[in-house]
Symmetry: C2
Subunit: 256 residues, 2 copies
DNA sequence: GTGTTTTGTTCGGCAGTGCCGAACACATGT
DNA sequence: ACATGTGTTCGGCACTGCCGAACAAAACAC
């Protein structure tokens, strides 16, 4: 009998459990054989086999007798984001934008219906970053995400936004009609706001990155605490800076 | 008969080929099924199975009908380096060091006998970075690597340095006795130089990061072209700055 | 336009192998 | 000394990963 109940047809079980182990090490940190076996519901010997395999391939390392993620994943991750023209195009420009605004900035692309941060610039006043490179977010809860949704084609948008919209804070837009209205406004203005819709106390301003043929590549935003992101600064000046940076990045991304 | 000739005993073949495919996508970029099958020497149907599995797990994405690395690896890579106390400890300090010196800086740890860059700060004059996050280097060809070798225990050093030392440039130290002498000097001074030993035209100054119990955690360096890295500046002033930064990082790494 | 090649996909079927459980060392702590 | 945890090794069964062939569907030729 197959213990890998879900997964449908044609899914290789061994690969699935190997990556399951990898994800366990990511979420729980360094672990031992027994720990992994219990967590994944597999036998100790199987867990041992997989860990030894991953060890030999160099994707897992042994530290203090426990197994942990190896740095080979760093290289893979770097290659994954290097694929995106948006990454190269935004590097210098985002740093300038963050300097000018004084708040944290990030670059997002969409993958499998979620937003993924592929670049992040911390500001001078560097506050604790809850999100890091590789973090995924619900698109409808962020300025970057809403910028993306507003400018991607409708069919794609409908695929991404499932039946219900998770509510993360009291201000999260969890109604589809309301979201559509918001997206219309964003399309109109050319930039998006996030007013504590993902994290209470945090605001952000985002804008889409469009290539010259109007297809969307991703989006950028700057974000900071409500104490600093407010007034005319937040509502007018920052949006203009973000949009200007987005335009430059869009141009750089198409010619490269 | 087993087509996975190498690998020894207890190595799960399916996992090995899955990661082989991942590495192919990393090295060759987005590829199709046939391409992968030929490159790995497996049947088309097997390649198809693996790619579908990886696709469903989210580690591979489809773009223009071809398969490419997914951004899930970004997250894994980030978690892998977050494990190292050295990463957190060096973030702010390295930025300051790079500001002061005006050349690129990097943080390295050792894994499986090679040096891996886990953090890198580009300088103002930002020149093309041949190396990026996750890059691995031969330890004896870099300032960071030699700093590490000089301060790790002898047994470990002998394991790392195999029988021969690859020569990358005409100035690479490829003789073990010569290297040992160099390491003695580094231990004496507390810092290492790299004078075009990995890349012609590039120099670097490195220093080890030691925790308070004298165990080595990794090392740091700043590097730039020979045109700027020269004279008293290169031989005395920069080393002092690097060592000072290394001391601070070492202290921060132990108390965190 | 037709033919040709290369692509991705689906389909049985054999054998190889991944999986388990039990038995084994080894360390840790009571 | 015992008890409980750990990681490891060992057979053996049945499942499953692998192949090759047949298929579908583009891309390319001319």
């Amino acid at each position: 009998m197959n213990t890998n109940e879900s997964g449908g047809s044609g899914v290789i079980g061994a690969t699935k459990t190997s990556f399951g182990i990898v994800e366990h090490l990511r979420d729980e940190g360094a672990s031992g054989v027994s720990d992994v076996a219990i967590a994944l519901g597999i036998s100790k010997s199987t867990a041992h086999n997989h860990l030894q395999t991953l060890l030999r391939l160099g994707y897992v390392v042994q530290v203090d007798g426990e197994y942990a993620l190896g740095l080979k994943f760093l290289d893979l991750g770097d290659h994954a984001r290097t694929r995106h023209a948006l990454y190269h195009a935004s590097i210098g420009e985002m740093d300038d934008l963050v300097d000018a605004v004084g708040e944290r900035g990030q670059v997002m692309v969409e993958e499998n219906g979620r937003g993924v941060y592929i670049y992040q610039v911390k500001s001078e006043q560097g506050l604790q970053t809850d999100s890091h490179i590789g973090t995924t977010v619900d698109l409808h809860t962020t300025a970057v995400g809403k910028s993306y949704l507003a400018f991607c084609d409708e069919q794609h948008r409908n695929e991404i936004l499932g039946d219900d919209l998770p509510q993360l804070t009291s201000k999260t837009i969890d109604d589809r009609a309301e979201l559509d209205a918001e997206l219309d406004a964003i399309r109109e203005r050319g930039h998006a706001f996030n007013d504590e819709e993902r994290i209470t106390g945090m605001r952000a301003v985002g804008a889409p990155i469009l290539s010259d043929d109007e297809t969307i590549l991703g989006s950028i935003s700057v974000s900071g605490p409500t104490t600093r992101m407010k007034g005319e600064w937040y509502h007018s000046e920052v949006p203009e800076m973000v949009k200007q940076a987005a335009r430059v990045i869009g141009i750089r991304a198409t010619y490269s």
